[in-house]
Symmetry: C2
Subunit: 341 residues, 2 copies
């Protein structure tokens, strides 16, 4: 049984260093000039006692908790592979500014926002997983604390939002097919996805629009059910134009992998008889067989931008609220592109 010694306070440090408590505070914050000698003595005392400032007292006094809340859905519906990279990057960005991150699950709903805000549990909020019509947004817009959305709702309600430039990415993928002599582009549909998300419809719309501009025949094929079984059931429609310069488009790494498997299952060699292109992190695209031509998503950049905006608001140095679109990375042509002619 370890003895339960109380944590050292700034008072203890002051006594040990032979200075006043406020001097300790000023050494820590650097908000006034301290003679080198006292500074040294204080730092030595801090070291010796392994002093760390009490977060509660700081928050109480300074009106800053050094905590930001991150609200995200973690339940069955959402695919963690899509959300976790954003979460990871938000935490990293917050830590760089010496803030911690409280994780709030999305299904606690708007009430969690007023609770955290009212109790001053955090200085600001990042909301992920934004649906077109998201019930958290009205509540969020009324909070005193800054809020940044990762995602695009129908109505931002004056909040900052950051999202990946899905339409641009879609156009790049269609361009790849057009540039390599394809005649047909078929998009694997996602009507099965629960909730209504901007990125789904925006991707589909942008694919269709770009295909029209580039003179490509275009179709969306919706699997009748989720999972691999659905994709397989849709095979006849997905591969209807096999043999006529067909290119398949996917919006996620999972979908890309499935399209590759599907093609091979049906005797087609991706990269020769048919193309498969998708929106994937580069690492995921390279791990596929064959490595897939892809436009990289930018989870890290989106999250960094969101946290950056958040701190601009916390520090009061923020411009007007806006929707910030993060540009896709380069398109990387890999083995899954078939070059015709």
């Amino acid at each position: 049984m370890t003895e339960r010694r109380a944590a050292p306070t700034s008072h203890d440090v002051a006594r040990l260093a032979g200075v006043s408590q406020s001097t300790v505070s000023y050494v820590m914050t650097g908000k006034r000039s301290i003679s080198p000698e006292t500074r040294e003595r204080v730092l030595a005392a801090i070291e010796q006692l392994t002093y760390q400032p009490n977060a509660g007292a700081r928050a109480l006094r300074g009106q800053r908790t050094q905590v930001i809340a991150l609200m995200v859905r973690l339940g069955e519906h959402a695919d963690p592979r899509d959300t976790v990279p954003y979460i990871d990057a938000v935490v990293a960005a917050a830590r760089e500014r010496d803030h911690d991150v409280v994780l709030v699950t999305g299904d606690e709903g708007p009430a969690a926002l007023t609770r955290m805000a009212g109790r001053r549990n955090c200085d600001a909020f990042v909301l992920m997983d934004i649906r077109a019509d998201d019930d958290r947004i009205a509540t969020a817009a009324a909070l005193e604390q800054p809020v940044v959305l990762i995602g695009t709702p129908a109505d931002r309600a004056g909040l900052d939002a950051v999202d990946y430039d899905v339409p641009r990415a879609a156009a790049m993928l269609v361009d790849e097919l057009a540039d390599t002599g394809h005649r047909h582009a078929v998009l694997l549909g996602e009507s099965a996805l629960p909730g209504e998300y901007w990125f789904v419809s925006a991707f589909h719309d942008a694919c269709r629009a770009r295909a029209a501009e580039r003179g490509l025949d275009f179709a969306v094929v919706d699997p009748p059910r989720p999972g691999w079984a659905g994709v397989e059931a849709a095979a006849p429609r997905l591969l209807a134009d096999r043999g006529d310069r067909l290119g398949l488009i996917a919006r996620t790494p999972q979908a890309t992998e499935r399209l590759l498997l599907l093609a091979r299952f049906h005797g087609l060699r991706p990269g020769e008889d048919v193309s498969v292109v998708g929106l994937c992190p580069d690492a995921a695209a390279e791990a596929l067989d064959p490595p897939a031509t892809s436009v990289s998503t930018q989870a890290r950049e989106v999250s960094r931008k969101a946290v950056e905006l958040l701190f601009a608001r916390i520090d009061g140095t923020a411009a007007d609220s806006a929707l910030h679109l993060v540009a896709p990375g380069e398109l990387r042509r890999r083995g899954s592109t078939a070059v015709f002619e």
Copy 2:
């Protein structure tokens, strides 16, 4: 521009209700008897002002932050599908006790523990993603705050730990193959996994041991590289005993899906010519094609148990530290089991 009114304090509530500040506090905590009338007036005032107690002040005075820290790796290496269900359940369990969860990423290392503990940012810690030789454990064991591990290290150092009973689950899967007349059991190996985890070796060892007990021929086949490509490259060895009552075993949903695909790729019908069984959440197993015979992992139960132990320690009502193994769910036979004879 909304006016930036300050949050109401218990003092404001007291004035409005015509009572003293301490009475407000006692109404909230219920730590002394209050006459029904005053209680009503106070509650009305709280309602009217939408008063919420300031977390910082509470933590400062009460020595309780109502926050627990959850440390987990979120980077590239770990598959989010394995970790997120645990995270979700930890958050849910904490919320049931009106606590919030700070998310700390594993790669901050042991220093993050001393920081959070020293600053009194949280009351307790849950550590996930425990490697056999985990560098956070020595530091964790020396903290004043309670710590519970989710996972099994080589040395618990006197800490509580909770884990899924992987050996038992492995035995159940092997039993299923033995009970249905299989002659060969082949386990998809995972030597590619970074770091050394108990659940990997424990699963392998238990499979081997049970196979010996049940008189099954047993082999582990390690893919030469990660991803689907590796599995396919290992196909000749994985399927060497095709046609002789072969059963394939996987430790994860991803591996299970890949084995199913592999079998079909090579002209075998899972559930008729060959069996595939795996450790999967029921939902994942049912979504496969064909639905896979599985023993369910118990992320929710493991997390709940961990949080339960944590609060027992926080409240000082804890028994001796121990490793708690959570029993697997029932084995569910689905379409991927072939019954021989």
